[in-house]
């Protein structure tokens, strides 16, 4: 059996006295889609922030393709192939769509500071390559016509696509999507699900998906984890999760004898 591509072992994290994530384990094989669900405040986004290095885990280890990545700064983890989107769309409001996608190539730039200051021929060549790749990616995401728009002026659905394109521009091997359908209408929802499916198929990515809408998780994910109060309370296929009494309790509240 092959090793899991992304592996999290016994990870815990404390905010002061509060244990936000406790003894969390995760194994995603290459090319799998995993769902992560749970009520508000369960610690889902904290798990993302721990994997991407924004927070340093109090305990536990994280491996990417057999390499230990916990403790590395976030930009190193990102350039090793872990990319993500954010729940509340952290776009760069004064930059154009094309510039967003080009930024994903930052860690691979070879021309260095000399090229940046003096505009060497090598820099122009490399910038042209980056631009070509970026335009191709925008094309695949169906937002090429928006390339020169400043993101501030775009409708919400388009901003979601830009964020997805930006995350893909780093050429990741694992993609962490934090509520990609938040605030979307049913029509946009169908489109974004289609995009996630396509991205998964075309780029051969492993995806970890945080989602509140059961329809989306149930349709997309092969396995689902449920978090409550920072701990995994259930793990299994969509059907198993749907019928798991602990999950239902966590979402609907426990019935209590009055």
């Amino acid at each position: 059996m092959t090793l899991p591509f992304l592996q999290v072992r016994n990870m815990s994290h404390d905010f002061g006295g509060l244990r936000a994530v406790s003894d969390y384990n995760l194994e995603i094989g290459s090319g799998q889609i995993r769902g992560l669900i749970g009520p508000n405040g369960a610690g889902k986004t904290t798990v993302f922030n721990l994997i991407t290095g924004i927070y340093k885990a109090s305990e536990g280890e994280i491996f990417l393709d057999g390499r230990k990545i916990d403790g590395l700064p976030p930009h190193r983890i990102a350039s090793l192939g872990v990319s993500r989107t954010f729940q509340n769309l952290l776009l760069w409001r004064h930059m154009t769509v094309l510039e967003h996608v080009k930024m994903g190539h930052y860690s691979k730039i070879r021309y260095g500071l000399i090229g940046a200051f003096f505009g060497t021929p090598g820099r122009h060549r490399e910038e042209a390559e980056i631009e070509e790749k970026a335009v191709r990616l925008l094309d695949r995401m169906g937002i090429r016509h928006l390339a020169d728009q400043v993101v501030l002026n775009l409708p919400y659905g388009a901003q979601r696509r830009v964020e997805m394109a930006r995350a893909l521009a780093t050429e990741p091997r694992v993609l962490l999507l934090d509520e990609p359908t938040a605030g979307m209408n049913p029509e946009e929802l169908v489109q974004i699900m289609e995009i996630i499916r396509r991205v998964h198929g075309e780029f051969g990515l492993s995806i970890l998906l945080i989602e509140h809408r059961m329809k989306v998780v149930m349709e997309l994910c092969e396995r689902i984890q449920t978090l409550d109060f920072g701990a995994v309370i259930a793990e299994g296929s969509p059907e198993e999760i749907q019928n798991n009494p602990r999950v239902i309790d966590a979402y609907l509240g426990q019935e209590r004898a009055v």
Partner: protein, 424 residues
């Protein structure tokens, strides 16, 4: 008003930059040839040095005469020459455009220099004001890298300028002038102009090293730390120099050789604008904007935010140091008092007046505030009421400055203007 403006500008919509340069060249040549007689006919003693603003303030009776002078010498000839030469200049611009960009840009720069040279040649005062204005452009743009492009708030620019100014001065005075500083001049003065760039670059490097001391502690986290630490740095540099007997403390350092003439300052300004524009338009430079707009997202997109910030800060400091070195050699005297809070206020005003995150903005801000400062000199203390008032007005109506968030695309700027129908 807007409609009127547009109607007046319609005949000029197809003028390429080359055309404007040609018009300006005609105007300054005319001033050279006919300026003095015309000024005398109009009852002005001599050519009004800064478009007559100071004459108007001193003697309001002469206002119509000054306006007439400006119309006859600058506005009308420039408008006529520009308009009549449209097809000619467009043709030249088009054929220039076929050459490599460097050659096209060099031709434009040479023309710009010729205009400035002819304009400034009228009086020594103009030459001085022009050189100081160009230095202000360098300072403003280098501060814009930190405060505009990167979105931090740095107050240490006068400190960097002082480091550059004193370092370059000590080198040039010590090595080339038979001064009290080290005894005898050790190098022949003929070598001077060749080693002057080295002194300036070393001054810039010293400023960068100073910047490292600010950058390392303040870029660990985000927030107001940089503003506070950089302000402290500025005062530390100032009192350090005041207490260094080696550079004659508060009495200041004088006798710098006269190497910072107009072409030298012009060349350094061009170099500064060019390299900063190159930097901020590259993906490495755009990372500054990403860090400013959202640092967490920048990290998640593989940007090493700490390194990015430190590099930009050092780069800005370098150019401030070079500008300081030039300033010392233009004034040929520096003292620690030059590099205090007033200098900081001026540079900050230029950055925020002109516009954040924009090369155009920095040029406009630096030129307008410098010229205004000079023109309003007769008002003495009231100058410091009018300029801040203007700044407040700009902040109210355009909070990011006059020309903010616009890229300077050299290619686009220099291209010939096609007929309106093909352009659209």
């Amino acid at each position: 008003m807007g409609l009127l403006n547009r109607n007046i500008l319609v005949p000029f919509s197809r003028v390429p930059l080359l055309g404007w340069f040609f018009g300006a060249l005609v105007a300054v040549t005319l001033e050279r040839l006919a300026g003095t007689p015309l000024a005398q006919v109009l009852g002005l003693q001599k050519i009004p040095v800064l478009f007559g603003l100071s004459v108007m303030l001193k003697n309001p009776v002469l206002i119509p005469n000054v306006i007439l002078y400006t119309l006859l010498i600058y506005i009308v000839p420039m408008a006529v020459a520009t308009r009549l030469s449209i097809s000619l200049t467009n043709g030249i611009a088009a054929s220039l455009f076929r050459f490599p960009m460097a050659i096209t840009a060099a031709v434009h720069l040479a023309l710009l220099y010729a205009i400035l040279h002819l304009w400034a040649g009228i009086s020594d005062y103009r030459v001085l004001v022009l050189r100081l204005t160009l230095i202000a452009v360098m300072l403003t743009l280098s501060l814009n890298v930190i405060n505009g492009y990167m979105g931090e708030f740095s107050c240490s620019h006068p400190g960097f300028m002082a480091l550059g100014a004193y370092c370059a001065s000590v080198l040039t005075i010590g090595l080339f002038v038979d001064a009290q500083l080290v005894g005898v001049a050790s190098l022949p003065p003929a070598l001077g102009p060749f080693l002057f760039p080295v002194a300036l670059i070393l001054g810039g490097c010293v400023a960068s090293i100073g910047a490292l001391f600010v950058a390392i502690p303040s870029f660990r986290t985000r927030g107001d730390y940089l503003a506070i630490i950089s302000l402290a740095f500025m005062f530390i540099v100032k009192s350090l120099i005041e207490n260094l007997e080696f550079v004659r403390g508060p009495r200041g350092l004088s006798g710098q050789p006269d190497w910072a003439d107009l072409p030298t300052v012009f060349l350094w300004t061009v170099l500064c604008v060019w390299s900063i524009n190159n930097f901020t338009r590259s993906t490495i430079g755009k990372a500054l904007n990403a860090v400013r707009d959202n640092e967490m997202a920048a990290e998640a997109m593989t940007v090493d935010t700490r390194r990015t910030k430190i590099v930009a800060f050092l780069f800005g400091a370098f150019w401030a140091g070079v500008a300081g070195g030039l300033f010392a050699h233009v004034m040929r005297y520096v003292n620690p008092g030059n590099f205090g809070i007033q200098n900081l206020a001026e540079v900050l005003a230029m950055v925020y007046f002109g516009g954040l995150n924009s090369v155009y903005g920095s040029i406009v801000g630096a030129v307008s505030i410098s010229l205004l400062g000079e023109a309003l000199r007769p008002l003495e203390i009231f100058k410091w009421i009018i300029i801040p008032l203007l700044l407040i007005l700009v902040m109210i109506y355009r909070p990011t400055g006059l020309i903010a968030f616009r890229d300077l695309d050299v290619k686009n700027l220099l291209k010939p203007k096609q007929k309106p129908d093909t352009e659209a």
